[in-house]
């Protein structure tokens, strides 16, 4: 199953100027459980797509909102020379077709 066909929200934003935080919000408890039991695979694929090592990627299931949060270091600090997305709001696209 591709993430974009399961999630109701897939978004990214800064968490401070050095980190990017990505939220995958699922529509129901069953879909949340499906994703939450596959965090290992999710983490591996995220690391690959964002060109990071797996230990730089934090994946945290957050049951109260049926969401999975991913936090990554930004490639360039927000607003620094060469940054392309100061708010980090358009860095979610590589997640869309992750297959779990």
């Amino acid at each position: 199953m591709r993430l974009h066909s399961m999630a109701k929200v897939i978004r990214s934003k800064n968490a401070g100027p050095c980190l990017l935080t990505l939220d995958i919000m699922l529509p129901d408890a069953a879909t949340f459980a499906y994703v939450a039991t596959r965090v290992g695979s999710l983490r591996r694929q995220v690391a690959e797509r964002y060109r990071l090592s797996e230990n730089q990627v934090i994946v945290l299931p957050y049951e109260p909102a049926l969401a999975v949060k991913i936090t990554l270091p930004r490639e360039t600090m927000s607003g620094d020379v060469g940054d392309r997305d100061v708010y980090g709001a358009q860095q979610h696209a590589p997640l869309l077709d992750i297959d779990l």
């Binding site: 934003k13 050095c18 919000m25 109260p64 909102a65 270091p73 600090m77 927000s78 020379v81």
Partner: protein
């Protein structure tokens, strides 16, 4: 009697739930009047507004400019100031003027004084600047009391010297000291948004964890609702939890929408941090009261071992100039990387004939790699693309020289396989070069241990009549 004295007096006679109105999470971009008025009709005990964030990037902190326009900021400040004076309740403003440094604070205070004069409002105002004294910061670095946040390198004295402004995110302790100066209005420089709404509860003895959790939610106004929005929100706090209700009828605070708000712009949805400690949200429950209101309970407060302050600083990189153009030639789009590299060399050889290479020139091709640096090239090249050239140089004149030269040579660059020999670029207007002034970067994002906040960040009181 001041507004805060009246509130404390009222609670002294009869303990009851505290009603806080989160009027705006980004003051200066418009406060919808119907929801604000509905909130005022619900007898709030205080009005709080947040003006700032670090998410807007380093330019505002560096330059001392506000993110919204002065007109927009004044319109919103007038609404909340008049409302608070009409009801005679405290107004608390955090992160004055977007980035919260001295120039931002001064612009905010100047606007408030103007409104007081124009609308004939009298009040006592407490102000706490959040600019970190450079001497104290240098001493803290030497004493090993400054640590980097996230991926930052250790802070050096050179960083301190280079920063245009350095502010500390003041906590509820500073808001509380300001309120204890017996005032109607509190204005802080850069501050934790939680302090805006958690400081009065702290004075009234409400549990710190629950208060901080509520504060973290209502500082964003109705963003925690479905649909989320910037309308005012009412938070009603008691000793066991709090209730949330948007003042816009179409916005519903549901258990899942409120729980989801903890994800927003936060690396850890289970905690809310403050200089004095953190609220732990591991055991929080969200319960629907009806289809528009949610009750939240269960956050606990864990005091920090020592007081610490999150620091933010921005230093000037130079001056930025842009080239704006488009392209529709498939050969140009396909070969853009080699073309940009070749033109960069041509430009360097010209502008560095009698000067050093003291600038940085870069390009983005929107449609291909403008938004992110992709691991893979695109499967299909776009029919059109937007070209942005960017130069950062030590002076505005140098940035302009480099970008104007770049425009000429990118337009006429002859590359292998070129068919469109009259010009490579479509200019939407001329001049296609834009000078946008000073460019900044965050060079301070660290944590400093502090023993005595009051000494570093004293309260100043001003009476307007």
């Amino acid at each position: 009697m001041t507004a805060i004295a009246r509130l404390l007096d009222d609670f002294g006679r009869r303990r009851r739930p505290l009603r806080s109105l989160g009027a705006s999470g980004q003051l200066g971009y418009g406060i919808p009047t119907p929801a604000l008025e509905r909130g005022l009709s619900r007898a709030p005990d205080m009005i709080g507004v947040d003006m700032g964030s670090i998410d807007i990037g380093p330019a505002y902190l560096g330059s001392g400019k506000m993110a919204p326009t002065r007109v927009g900021a004044k319109r919103d400040l007038r609404k909340v100031l008049r409302a608070a004076r009409r009801l005679d309740i405290p107004l608390i403003i955090g992160s004055a003027g977007s980035a919260g440094a001295r120039p931002h604070l001064q612009q905010t205070l100047e606007i408030l004084r103007e409104i007081a004069h124009e609308d004939e409002l009298g009040f006592r105002m407490a102000v706490v600047a959040s600019d970190v004294p450079r001497g104290a910061l240098r001493q803290a670095i030497a004493a090993g009391r400054v640590r980097p946040m996230d991926t930052m390198p250790p802070l050096t004295e050179a960083d301190v010297d280079a920063a245009a402004h350095i502010v500390g995110q003041l906590g509820l302790e500073a808001f509380r000291r300001a309120l204890e100066a017996d005032v109607d209005v509190v204005v802080l420089g850069r501050a934790c948004d939680t302090g805006i709404f958690a400081s009065i509860p702290a004075m009234l003895g409400f549990p710190a964890g629950i208060s901080m959790h509520m504060a973290k939610i209502i500082e964003c106004a109705s963003l925690c609702c479905v649909p989320g929005g910037r309308d005012s929100i009412l938070g009603v706090l008691d000793d066991h939890g709090f209730e949330l209700e948007s003042m816009a009828p179409e916005r519903r605070a549901t258990p899942s929408s409120v729980a989801a708000h903890s994800l927003y712009e936060q690396a850890d949805p289970y905690e809310v941090r403050e200089p004095s400690g953190r609220a732990n949200l591991r055991h929080v429950t969200y319960q629907a009261i009806d289809d528009r209101r949610t009750r939240v309970e269960g956050a606990t407060f864990e005091p920090a071992e020592r007081l610490s302050l999150k620091l933010e600083g921005a230093s000037k990189l130079g001056y930025r100039a842009l080239l704006i153009a488009g392209a529709a030639d498939p050969h140009f789009i396909e070969r853009h990387q080699a073309i940009f590299a070749a033109v960069s060399r041509v430009v360097r050889d010209l502008v560095c004939e009698d000067a050093v290479e003291d600038y940085r020139l870069g390009f983005r091709l929107y449609g291909v790699d403008g938004v992110r640096s992709w691991a893979e090239p695109p499967a299909h090249l776009p029919r059109e693309a937007f070209v942005m050239g960017e130069c950062i140089a030590p002076t505005p004149e140098r940035a302009e020289e480099v970008i104007r030269t770049t425009k000429q040579y990118l337009l006429h660059h002859g590359y292998e396989g070129r068919l469109s020999t009259a010009g490579n670029l479509a200019f939407p207007f001329t001049p296609p070069e834009v000078m946008i002034g000073a460019a900044y970067r965050f060079n301070v994002f660290h944590v400093m241990d502090v023993d005595d906040m009051a000494r570093l960040f004293p309260v100043e009181v001003e009476t307007l009549s």
